[in-house]
Structure formats: C-alpha cells, structure tokens
C-alpha cells in the first residue's frame, strides 16, 4: 500500500518562524531519509515553506475568499510529507515512530493511505473520452504492439 505521512508543526516551530535549519539539525533527518531509501520504501518526499509564504482559499457556499498566510488560527500546519510504499499500515506506523521529530521540530505526523486499484474498482469504471479515443485507435492499429501491455 501507498501512504502519505504528513508532517504537522505548530505556530511556534522554527520552520514556521522562517528559520532555516542548521546542518546539525538536518543530519538526523538526512540519516532517516537514507534509511527509508535503503529499505526500498521511499517513493517521494518534500518540505514546505512556512505558511507565511502561502495563502488560504476558503469557500462560503462555493464562493472563494482568499487570505494570505501566515495561518495564525491553525493549530496544526502541514510542513512536508513522505510518500512510502509499505506492506501494511503497521509498517507505516513503525517507520513513522522512527522519525527524528525533535530535531525536525515536528509536533505530529499523520499517516493517510492512498486509494488503490481495489478501492477504485468498486466504483463505476466510467470510461473517459481518452479511453473511447484509444479504442477507436485500437481498431486501426495492431493492438499486439509493444508485446506485453
């Protein structure tokens, strides 16, 4: 299964205050990321700039209102994420427990599984225009092309 582990920080975190982490603060995180990579579970990761660099768009009955950052009312702020490919939610939890939270100023992380093929197949497999176009094409082209699909 594929999961996203979202990093949550609070208003007082160094990152939110715009401080760039020192090398010593980065080192444990670098080591952890390397461990994820060597275990073959890391698909993607990124850090986000503080909320002062962002904006919030809220909708009142569909009508958008834009408020520039920082998001001072928010208790938890998303500050980054990992995307992992793991065997189970328990494995994701096991990795999450190893996050060097203190040096990263992390308050909490949230583990959220992605929708997978099995989940999607329960819905109606609504063919998109692209599928119809491809089917038309298939009538004109040798469909065995490329060997294994």
């Amino acid at each position: 299964m594929r999961v996203m582990i979202m990093v949550k920080v609070n208003q007082d975190s160094k990152g939110e205050r715009g401080a760039v982490p020192t090398e010593a603060e980065m080192a444990p995180m670098g080591k952890f990321n390397e461990e994820l990579q060597k275990a073959g579970v890391l698909l993607d990761l990124s850090g986000l700039k503080p909320s002062s660099a962002g904006a919030r768009v809220t909708f009142n009955r569909g009508k958008p209102t834009v408020v520039d950052g920082p998001f001072t009312e928010a208790k938890e702020l998303v500050a980054g994420y990992w995307i992992l490919q793991v065997k189970s939610k328990e494995e994701a939890i096991e990795w999450a427990k190893r996050i060097p939270a203190e040096s990263g100023g992390i308050e909490a992380v949230e583990i959220r599984p992605f929708y997978e093929m099995e989940d999607l197949e329960m819905e109606d497999f609504a063919p998109s225009p692209a599928v119809d176009a491809a089917k038309e094409l298939g009538k004109k082209l040798p469909s065995g092309a490329g060997g294994k699909p």
Partner: protein, 428 residues
Amino acid sequence: MAGGDEAIRRIDAVWRIESPKLIGALARVVGDVGAAEELAQEALVAALEKWPETGVPDNPGAWLMTTAKNRALDDLRRRKMLRGKHQELGRDLEAEQEASGDALAARLERELDDDVGDDVLRLIFTSCHPVLAREARVALTLRLLGGLTTAEIARAFLTPEPTIAQRIVRAKKTLAEAKVPFEVPRGAERGERLASVLEVIYLVFNEGYAATAGDDWMRPELCDDALRLGRVLAGLAPEEPEVHGLVALMEIQASRARARTSPSGEPILLLEQDRARWDQLLIRRGLAALAKAESLGGARGPYALQAAIAACHARARVATGTDWAQIAGLYGALAEVTPSPIVELNRAIALAMLFGPEAGLKLVDALAGDPALAGYHLLPSVRGDFLFKLGRLDEARKEFERAAGMAGNARERALLLNRARQTYATSD
C-alpha cells in the same frame, strides 16, 4: 488477550523492516545463511511470546539482535558442555573445537553490532547465488530479503506450501555444502553474479505483472515485492548502471498497473489503455532511474534498453504520439546485446507501426520457423493481428485460436478467443 492481534501485526511490520539487516549481520558473524536465519527466527519467536505482554520495545531491531546473539551464545555453551562429557573425542579435536567456539563467541560479542552496511547486499548476492536452481533463488530471496513467510511465497507462486518450505531448506543446505562465502563478489565474478540477482528480481516482478498461470492476470503484491527489492539494491549498489536500468523498467511497467486490467480482470492492451490512469509518480521515478543508468554509462545494458523502450510509451500522452522509429531502433540495439527471436518479434511490431501490417507480416513470417518461438503464444497472436488488419479474417481467426490454445493464463486466453470471435463480427 486484548490487542494480541494488533501486537502480532506490529511484530510482522517490525520483522519486515528488520529481518534482512538481522539475518545479514548474523550471517556475517556465523558464516552461514541457514544458521543465521534460524537464529533470527528464534528471536522472532521470542518477540512473539514477549511483545504482546510488554509492548514493542523502543528499539525493536536492537532487541531482536541481542536476543539472537544470546541464543547463539547459549548454543555454543551447550555444545561446549556436551563436549566436556564426551570423553571419546580426541583431545586435539576437542581443543580445536573449543577454540573455534570461543572465537565465535568473541566475534558475536564484538562484531555483531557493527553496522557494516554491506550485510544486506551480501545477503542478496548469497541468496541469488548461481549454485542454486532459479526457483530456489527466488524462494530464498523473497524469504530472506522480502520478509515473506513460506505461506505467502506459496500463495504467490500457486505452489503447495510444503514444496516451498522444502525448496528453502534445500537451498540453505546447498549454500552450506558448497561453502559459498558470505561476501559481495568482486572483479570478474561480479558482473555474472549481479546478472543473477537482477534476473531473480525481474522474475518475481514478471510473475506479478503477467502471471504465467492461474486465473488472475496480475498479482500486484509480487510486483511491489520486486520493486522494493530493486529499490533496496539501487540504494546498496548505486554505482551499477543495470540496477538502475532494472528499477527504471519495473517502475515504468508498474505505472500502467491501474490501466491494464478492466474491472472484471481482462487485460487491456497497451495502445488501448486510458493513459490518464497511468501512475505519474512511478513514471517520474522510472525516467529518473533510466537517466541515472545512462549517466553511469549503461545506456546499452539490456535492462536499460528495455526501460528506454518502456519510457518511449510513457512519454507519449496519446498512443498515436508514440515514437515507433525510436522504439524500433532500441529493439535493434537490444537484439545486438541479447539476440533473441522474441526481441525480433517486438521489433517487427514496431516496424509494422511505421510501415504497415503487410511489412510486419513479412518480418514475422521470417521468424515463424524459429524453434525458440514454437510454443510462444504471442507469435500467432501478432500474426493474427496483422492478418486482421489486412482483412484476411479466416486466417486471422485461425491464428488467434492457435494463440489461445498456447496461452497459459486464463485471462489472456479469453482475450485471444474474443479476438477470434471479432473476426466473425467484422465479416458480417
């Protein structure tokens, strides 16, 4: 006990993360993969007894390592005591055994906790050693590196569990008897040994990607296991271009997983897939891995070439945008590196996309006599396709039916029979 099941699932997760490192470190010290795995298993059993009561310790990897080490030391002490009682043993031999036992105990104390880093890589090379039969390499690798249970491996390969269990026991015995050293091969041997490792991983992937038998066409779990092994290997041997080539190939092929079966499980062919369902994250990873392989000078490696072909498809937003000339060229290069009629067949398909089914048919007919393709269902399938395009429907039908008779997978067979039926619909 409440929470018992949850504890067991958590132990399972810890095991999957820790077992390759654990078995690798133990094998480095005791010098035998089989003995190392048994010690690791004993530590796992101890965890299964203890953790549901005490909770999972803060550093579960270290706990397992210490437990395994203590088991090994207990074992040595027991044997020493036994020897003390057996007077029939020759004195010299006794002294020698005692000395080697002491030396091992000292090494266990001293070296087991060293983070050598190469342990897992050594474990991969050992479990994929050419002294083992291919099936044994696959089973042992999934077991030691993938953390799969015998039951899981048996299910994945539709093989009875006792058969897999026996295969693993025999493999460990063969490694011990052949005195295979626990090391990363160097020099001239390395290339050949690496090829065996890559072959095992790709075999696992392919069995998941297009099952050779059974009712399901895909078994995504096996693809995930193979990808994980490939990514692990890329992390441990980052200087090897073909490792990145294989990872690139698997990432790009896996990116199509969501698009290549219909809800009822029928295969959807590449050119008919809804490309919006392709997994862009995996494509991006695959293209990056391919670039890495090429930057290391491995553009002409067989896996990198196959990955480059897969990348041509991945880059085409619509099927009509496929660069068939480049694909035909890459198949030509692949045929030079690994001459094979199957590669030629694929090259013929690419050329037919450029020059039409008539040209394709000529190329395929030139291959038809090759004994290596005698039982290969894609040959009549491709031939049928060209004939169909040329409006030679009776001949096309015969080829599709012939291909269906040769296909081992139920879903693929159904697809081919369906194509045979379409020839009637078209002639009406």
